[in-house]
Amino acid sequence: MPSAEEIRQRIEAAIPGAQAEVEDWTGGGDHFKATVTAQAFAGRNRIEQHRLVYEVFGEEIGGPIHALSLSTHVPE
């Protein structure tokens, strides 16, 4: 099962210019909360922004990553 650090790294690697903060929400290694700020989100609605992040993990969402709660932002 991934760690919060690994999830953070994967988001930042996959979305150019992204800054992510990831917490292991329950301490159990499968429920994460990520706050992601990226220029790539500009001009996209929330659904599209969240999809960009979920797509990094594909099939893992709902599997080894049981839950990934997202908060996405465009840098000011």
């Binding site: 929330r46 659904i47 969240h50 999809r51 979920y54 709902g62 709660s69 997202l70």
Partner: protein, 131 residues
Amino acid sequence: MSENDFANTATDTPAAGETNQIREAIEQAIEQNQTILFMKGTPEAPACGFSARTVAALKELQAPFAAVDILPDPRIRQELSAISNWPTIPQLFVAGELVGGCDIVMEMYESGELAQTLGLDRAPAHATPTQ
């Protein structure tokens, strides 16, 4: 279209025909209900925190909504995610379009956008939903 239509689809042998039946039932439900929430459990007894919070927001706004429990059959979630291109549950659809999951619905609830999207005149009585 009601939740029973999902429960009644045949489950003896998995076959492309039956999966398409589920897909069609989901598509019809989305089309035929102005507001529909695909969730774990029921609005009276949500089976997960994310679904519970999403239902609470809709109830706080006194919004009418249809609800489908995805737990009885794993194919519901599978087909739903294929249709919506969204991997998590719950999923809220309004006027045939995916509005979002728990995170998005809660953000929109707090900003007032959810009431607007649901076509409700009134503002929420409280700023944040009671848990």
